[in-house]
Symmetry: none
Subunit: 504 residues, 2 copies
C-alpha cells in the first residue's frame, strides 16, 4: 500500500511532439525518480486505472512539471488515452524476454515459430524501442532467414494485427516491389480491374524510402485515410478502392518495422516478402499479382535477384494460401514523367483519362499488370488479359471508375502545384544514355517529397532521347526555398543523374 501511494504522480499533457516515440517527463527530485532509481533514458511503465504504456524518461529540472506531476509527450498521451491531472503509477517495465531470441539470432541461431510470434506480440504492444527494432532488422538481414522463418514471420505479423474478410471468392490485389520512381500503376490498375467487375480492395502504403508511396499519390486525388467501415462502403459500391492501409491496422508491426527500415535505408528479401504478404493476407486478398521491376538503379538490380524474390513470394504465398503471380518487369528507368505525389497523380489521371500525351510506358505497365490480374482472377480467357484491360481503358470505363472511386472515398481533388522550381538543362548535345533512378529519387526527397505533395521531379527525357545543349532534362519542384536549394546542392554534387553521351 505504502509503495503504491509513493509511486503515484499526476499526468500533464506537455504538448511536445516527439513523433511516434512515447516520452515521459519527470523531475529528478520527484519521489518516483528517487525511489525507483529512474534516470534520463530509463524505460518507465506508466499505468492508469484503464491502461498502461512503456515510455522513455526525459528528466526536467524545473518549470515544466511539479515534483508531484509527470508530463507526457503527445505520442504517450494519446497511446495512454490519458486525462489531465489523472493519477498514474510508475514502475520498471518487466524485462522483454523475447529479445533473448533476437540476441540469439545476432549470434546466428535461427528463430522458432513461437519465438517470432512472441517478438511480434511485444513489438505490437510497444515494448521494443527503436534500438531494439533496429537490432532485429539488422540481425534478420545479416544472419539471413530460412523459408520457415519467413513463413512464421509473415504468419505472426498477420496474427498480431486485424484481419479483414470479404464475401467474395476472389479478392484481387497487386503490389509493386518498388524502387522505380513514378511507377504509379496502382490507381490505374484498380480502376481497370474494378471496372471489369473484379473485387480489388487496395490498401497502399505511404513512402518508405521513396519520394512517394501510392497512398501519398492517391491522397492528392482523394482522401485515403479511411477506416474499415468506410473502406467496405467504397468497395461494396465500386468493387475497388485505393486507401492508406495504416488506418486499418492490418499489420501494425509492419508499420513499426518499415519506419526503422526507412531510417536505415535497409531492404531484405525476407522482410519484403513478410511485409507484402502479411498485408495481403490481413487484407483478405486471395489472388495477388506482384510487379518486380529490375534495373541497375531499381530496388532489384538483377534478374537473378528478381527471380529469387519471385520464388520466395510464391513459396511463402503458397504456405499462406494465396495465389501469387510475380511479374518481372523492366526497371531500367523511371516510369511516367512525374516523381513525387502530385506529379505522379497528374500522370495517373492522364493515362486513365486517355490523354493523347499521357506517358506510354505508364499505360503499358498498367495494362500488363491489370491483364495479369484479370487472368489470375479468371475474369477473362487465358492470354486475353491485356486486350481486355486495354479495352476498358480505351472506352472510358476505367476513367469513370477512377472518378467514382475518388468520389466514394470522399471527393475527387486536384493535385497541388509547387511554388518553387528549378530546371536542369543539358550542358552539351547528345543522346541520353543513363538515368540514375536512385539519385533522382534522392533529389526528389531532398526537394521535400512526399511531405510536401507538390514537391518532386518532372523528368522530360527518356533513355535513347536526343537532346540539344540547353534542353531541359528535368524540373525540380519544391514548396520552400530551403528545400529547393538543398536539392540543387545535391544535383551539383551528383552531375551524373542523367548522363548524356556525345552526339554521334
Amino acid at each position: 500500500m505504502a509503495n503504491s501511494v509513493r509511486s503515484t504522480l499526476h499526468l500533464k499533457r506537455m504538448g511536445i511532439d516527439t513523433h511516434e516515440e512515447p516520452i515521459v517527463y519527470m523531475r529528478a527530485d520527484c519521489h518516483v525518480c528517487r525511489s525507483e532509481g529512474f534516470s534520463a533514458h530509463s524505460r518507465v511503465m506508466v499505468t492508469t486505472d484503464r491502461s498502461s504504456i512503456i515510455a522513455t524518461l526525459n528528466v526536467v529540472r524545473d518549470g515544466f512539471v511539479l515534483p508531484t506531476e509527470a508530463g507526457l509527450s503527445e505520442a504517450a498521451w494519446l497511446l495512454l488515452a490519458a486525462r489531465p491531472g489523472e493519477p498514474a503509477s510508475f514502475s520498471h517495465p518487466p524485462p522483454v524476454e523475447s529479445f533473448g531470441a533476437v540476441r540469439a539470432k545476432i549470434f546466428g541461431h535461427a528463430f522458432g515459430e513461437a519465438q517470432l510470434l512472441e517478438i511480434l506480440t511485444d513489438m505490437a504492444t510497444g515494448r521494443y524501442t527503436d534500438i531494439d527494432l533496429s537490432a532485429f532488422l539488422t540481425a534478420c538481414t545479416a544472419a539471413g532467414m530460412s523459408l520457415d522463418e519467413v513463413v512464421w514471420l509473415t504468419r505472426g505479423m498477420v496474427k498480431v494485427g486485424e484481419r479483414v474478410r470479404w464475401d467474395h471468392a476472389v479478392v484481387a490485389d497487386k503490389h509493386s516491389v518498388g524502387g522505380l520512381p513514378g511507377n504509379r500503376t496502382t490507381p490505374i490498375v484498380v480502376s481497370i480491374v474494378a471496372a471489369a467487375g473484379v473485387c480489388i480492395p487496395k490498401t497502399s502504403s505511404r513512402a518508405i524510402t521513396s519520394p512517394a508511396g501510392t497512398a501519398d499519390t492517391m491522397e492528392t486525388l482523394a482522401p485515403v485515410d479511411l477506416d474499415l467501415a468506410s473502406m467496405r462502403r467504397v468497395v461494396d459500391r465500386e468493387n475497388g478502392c485505393v486507401i492508406w492501409g495504416g488506418a486499418i491496422h492490418l499489420s501494425p508491426v509492419d508499420d513499426l518495422l518499415i519506419r526503422v527500415e526507412r531510417a536505415l535505408d535497409l531492404d531484405s528479401d525476407a522482410q519484403l516478402v513478410a511485409s507484402v504478404l502479411s498485408k495481403k493476407v490481413a487484407a483478405g486478398s486471395t489472388h495477388v499479382v506482384i510487379d518486380i521491376p529490375v534495373g541497375p538503379t531499381a530496388k532489384v538490380r538483377s534478374l537473378d535477384a528478381a527471380h529469387a524474390i519471385a520464388r520466395l513470394l510464391e513459396r511463402v504465398g503458397n504456405e499462406m494460401g494465396l495465389a501469387v503471380r510475380p511479374v518481372v518487369t523492366d526497371g531500367s528507368q523511371p516510369i511516367g514523367r512525374g516523381i513525387g505525389p502530385a506529379l505522379e497523380a497528374r500522370d495517373v489521371v492522364a493515362v486513365t483519362r486517355g490523354d493523347r500525351d499521357a506517358p506510354d510506358d505508364l499505360r503499358e505497365r498498367a495494362v500488363l499488370l491489370a491483364g495479369e490480374i484479370l487472368e489470375l482472377a479468371g475474369a477473362c480467357t487465358a492470354g486475353g488479359g491485356q486486350t481486355e484491360a486495354r479495352n476498358i481503358l480505351a472506352d472510358g470505363r476505367a476513367w469513370r471508375k477512377l472518378q467514382s472511386i475518388c468520389e466514394a472515398q470522399g471527393g475527387m481533388r486536384t493535385p497541388p502545384a509547387s511554388s518553387q522550381r528549378f530546371e536542369l538543362t543539358a550542358t552539351a548535345a547528345g543522346t541520353v544514355v543513363g538515368i540514375d533512378s536512385r539519385q533522382l529519387a534522392r533529389a526528389a526527397k531532398l526537394a521535400g517529397a512526399p511531405a510536401d505533395p507538390a514537391a518532386g521531379i518532372d523528368l522530360h527525357v527518356r533513355l535513347g532521347a536526343s537532346v540539344e545543349r540547353g534542353q531541359p532534362l528535368f524540373t525540380l519542384h519544391a514548396d520552400s526555398v530551403g528545400e529547393l536549394a538543398y536539392a540543387q546542392a545535391y544535383l551539383a554534387a551528383h552531375p551524373g543523374i542523367v548522363t548524356v553521351g556525345e552526339a554521334s
Copy 2:
C-alpha cells in the same frame, strides 16, 4: 543572405535531460520549420558562429519557446557549447555517406580501415542516430569482426577523440572487465604502483548500470572531476591519480556505443576490446593489465570466453603498440564487503591502510594486479611483483601514497555513513552455497547507490561460510526510509540472493 537571416533562431537552454541524445525544440509555426519543411523527428543541423551539431527535432506547441527561439536539451546545449540567446541557423544535415559501409557489413562485406574511420568520425560528430548505432553494433556482432577490423576500430576510436601524451617511457594502466560488485581494486593498485615509482594516471568511469563505478567510489575519498591540466599536476607530483575520465573526452564514440550496447544488453568481444584498448591508447598508456573475472553471475561466464577475450586483447594491443597482460580471475562472488560508493571506499581504505580486519580477498586481488603491473612495467624482477606489491602495502607506502593522491586531487574526504539500515539474517543454519552478484547489485541500486554515496550493501558472508539461524548475511544501507523500504521489498521478492544450504 536572405536565407541565413530567415533560418536564424535564438537558443534557449531547456533544462531537459535526454541523456546523450541531442534534441532541439521548435514551434511548428516558427519560420524555420515552415521554410525548411522540418517536422517532428526531423534531423536538424544547428550551427552557431563557433560550432555545429545535428539534433533530432521535437515540435512544441506553446509555452516552451517563442516562435523566434529554439530550445536545446542538455546534451545538445553542452555539445554545441551554446550561450543563452545566441543566434543559430538551422538546416538539413548532409546525408551520412558512411552508413553505406554499415549496410554493406550487414550483407557480409568486411569494413575497410578508411570506412571505419569515416563511420567513427560521423559518430563522434553526432551524425549517427540510436537506430544507426544499433544497426552498426548488431552488424559487427552478427557478421563478426576480423582481427584487422578490430584493430581499425580501436585505432579509429582513438583518432576521433583526444589523446594524452606523457613524458614517461612506461605509463601503466589497469582495467577490470566488470560485472563483479565491490571489485574496487583500482585505488589500491594505483597507490601501490605509484608508490613503486611507476607512472599510473588512471581515468575511471562512473556507474552506468552498476551500484558504483570506480569514479563514484573514489569521489567519496577525494574530488575526481579534474580537467586534463589538473590531472597532469597530480600525476607530475604523485606518479598516479584516480579521476573521472568523462571530463577528459578520451574516446567520445565509446560512450555512445556503450549506451546502445547496454540498451541491447549485447556484449561482443570486438566491441569490448576496442572500447577498453582505445581508452588506454588515448590515455597515453603503454603497459596495461586487464582483470577478467569469470563467474556464473559475472560479465564473463566461462573460462573459454575469458581466454578468447584475453587472446584478442593481446593481439589487438600488440597492433596498437601496447603491452597488454590479461589476468583471468575468480568472479564467483563479490570482492570485498561493501557494495556502493562509500562502503567500497571503506574497504579500499582498510586494505590500503593495512587494517587487520580488512577484507582479504580485496587485498589479494589488488596485490595480484599490482604485482602484474610492476612486472609488466619492468619495475621489479620477473615473478617478484606480488612480493614487491605486498611489501609496499605492508610498510605503509601505499597508504601514504593514497593519502597524498587524494590531497593532490583536492583534499581527502571521509566517506559518508548511511542513516537507514536493515539487516538480512539467515532463516536457517547451514553453509553459504550461492551469492547472486547481479541481484545484490540490483538491491544496492534500489537502496539508492550510486546517487546516494552512502547507500548500498555490506556483505557479511562469503561462499562456503557456515552460518547460524539468525546470523546476519548482509546489511542494506540507505539514506531515506522510503528507499530502504523499496530495497527491502526487492529482497522479499528475491529470497535467493544469498543461498544457505542445509547444515551437514
